[in-house]
Assembly symmetry: C2
Homo-oligomer: 410 residues x 2
């Protein structure tokens, strides 16, 4: 039984993260798609680590590792995920799981702490088969029909087939036991440059943005690029380009301080060099933690569409295809992280929204939740060069363990 | 031996065009890709028609039907093509071949006419395997290596394999006999709305535009669409949209009266909704009959690229990937068509450039050339609904035959 004080927390974290990096290694990162052999091996590695943290656990029917402590007192749920994006970084996911494991090792074995940390590794946060399938299953948001319909976005393999090959067919999915946990805490790399550029060590997440996605479709008239005079054209591609530029001009005047928006894909049809595009569409995404801001921007998109339609050259429709409600992080969790940062990170912390989605936003629908960020070198993520300085990883672990202690003893 | 006067020309044309439409019919149009069974059957149909026009001929090693008359006196080359775009119209190509056949039937059998019309059907004008491979082979512009490298843009089938399956492997390609022909005359549907909208019957082509094609590539920085703040972004897709809009604003001030330009394809990389595009490229095409105009527009593209690069957010390169020299139509040919239009189309003719490419631009590199257009209903082409009124088809044939007579007797 280790009797590590909080101040020594973090010593085992680097070794554990490197052990997980060795499973499915790709250059300096990893390639561990959901239900791949290295992903499943990582889950088994975690199960083997549970006894030293005073936990028992198993993989449930959707691939979540869920654990329980028999210690009396309040229970705090903590974790993240172990699968990766394709050919991506070693910390996106494992950092939060290992911080949670470290907190459990330290606190569950400390007789002075009443209560325990229970570790979770949520399956498929990276969305190979869907959106947050593991954590959504835990909160009751995934039906059997959803699983029947899910398939791997890279290989096309059916989720049922992947579950069966992983030995998980027929195993029940575990649902949250309401009231068991005082809340959920998750650590993650920032995946942006804010902490690094300001010389800070800890991001205290105030909210996780909602992701709103739109398909904006322009309909003009397909025609011959040689014989159709400029004045006769109804070019759907040009209408789309003008719309993108108009967004760039108008959104900054009405957005929130941290709103971001992105046109990630453009398709002109038929897409041939000698044919004026008859239709064009763009995938457009808006992220903000404030639904009122998103509503204002969405209304502006509709106004812009009406302006285009009034000109009667091309028609445009704006269709919302994804509404991701923003999640607020519990203020008590933010306070606990801030106090822990004062102790272990010299107070070099910043309250900030998360621009990326995380399992914490799903858990926040059924219990209080909080998140902590550590700096990302160069802001890089979803790439095998993703990294965080060793000392920042250790500092983050110390803050995380201390924050868990505060949340259990409050 | 028919002794049809010019005024009765055109009577056989509709029957011939409908016979060709029945080979490879698709709805009211045809589907006759180069070297498909219906294309090859159409070539055989034409060979069978040659004797009634006083011609002998064969299919050469690249799929051209070339014919000769033994009549003394000047020879005029006339024709077009028999393959079609995929699932396209019945007149794009066959109209010009059948007009040429009709002219040969009428004039080659007329003892009062010294000289003869020699009919050609150029292979692959529609570019299934390349650009004008048949006519370019005839003028000496295609090497054996070009054929080795060519493949069907739809199926990927190698041209060598297609030639072999068509029984054309090992058959020599026929080159132009310099000095044999007084020139080349081709008829075609307009593929635009100019004649129809002005109530005219005959377009007298003054020039065939050059087609200049550019790949314009934008390089920014690929990043996370949630965690990268708007001010930190180097969005290649947005830079592309701004460039398209800038072209639309600046080109009208410096273009020629009939210049056209088209962005036919846009690709954002990686093209995912949650990733800021790191690179973006567009296929951009300019058409004009005046190379000086194109040079001015190309210089403007480079200036615009320098302006973008000076801002240092994204880099842009403009690469010319196709330079198609414009072709001027011979004034004597234009005069012959105009005089024939006065006789047979009530003078309802218009001198106009061709915005589309045609085999005549290739033939114009080695002999005087001319082109005649008939109206397209609704300006539609490269679609199975493409059509021309029967009476306009007959009028066009009468004008064509009379223009050929004038060119032979001048």
């Amino acid at each position: 039984m280790p009797d590590t004080p909080s101040s020594a927390a973090g010593t085992g974290v680097l070794a554990d993260l490197n052990a997980l990096r060795a499973i499915g290694a790709y250059r300096s990162g990893v390639h561990k798609p959901t239900f791949s052999a290295p992903h499943l091996e990582s889950l088994q590695w975690l199960l083997a680590k549970l006894p030293e943290a005073g936990l028992t656990g198993a993989i449930d029917g959707i691939g979540n590792v869920l654990t329980t402590s028999t210690k009396t007192g309040p229970k705090l749920l903590a974790g993240s995920h172990l699968e990766s994006q394709n050919y991506a970084g070693w910390l996106d996911g494992p950092l939060g799981v290992i911080y949670a494991l470290e907190a459990a090792r330290v606190l569950n074995n400390d007789p002075d702490v009443t209560g325990a940390v229970e570790v979770a590794a949520w399956c498929d946060e990276e969305g190979h088969f869907g959106h947050f399938l593991g954590s959504r299953s835990y909160v009751g948001g995934v039906t059997e029909a959803d699983i029947d319909a899910a398939s791997d976005r890279s290989s096309g393999r059916a989720m049922r087939e992947a579950l069966s090959a992983a030995g998980l067919a027929g195993i029940p999915r575990q649902a949250a036991e309401r009231g068991r946990h005082v809340g959920y805490l998750e650590a993650h790399i920032e995946q942006g440059r804010t902490l690094e550029s300001e010389g800070l060590k800890i991001g205290i997440v105030t909210s996780i943005v909602g992701i709103f996605q739109y398909r904006i479709t322009f309909t003009g008239e397909q025609n011959h690029a040689g014989t159709t005079r400029m004045t006769d054209r109804r070019d759907a591609g040009l209408a789309l380009a003008k719309f993108c530029v108009a967004i760039d001009e108008r959104f900054p005047h009405i957005c929130g301080p941290r709103t971001v928006w992105t046109t990630g894909r453009i398709t002109l049809d038929p897409g041939a060099p000698s044919i004026i595009p008859g239709t064009a569409d763009m995938l457009f995404q808006v992220r903000d933690a404030d639904v009122a801001v998103v509503a204002r921007l969405e209304a502006e998109l509709q106004t812009m569409a009406e302006e285009v339609n009034a000109q009667a050259r091309c028609r445009v429709t704006v269709e919302c295809i994804r509404r991701g409600t923003p999640a607020m992080m519990e203020s008590k969790f933010q306070q606990a992280i801030e106090a822990a940062s004062s102790n272990f990170a010299g107070g070099k912390s910043l309250r900030m929204p998360s621009g990326a989605g995380h399992d914490a936003q799903v858990l926040a629908t059924i219990m209080p939740a909080g998140m902590l960020f550590v700096p990302s070198i160069g802001g890089i993520s979803h790439h095998w060069t993703e990294n965080t300085a060793d000392e920042d990883i250790v500092t983050g672990a110390q803050v995380f363990v201390d924050a868990c202690r505060r949340l259990l003893t409050q």
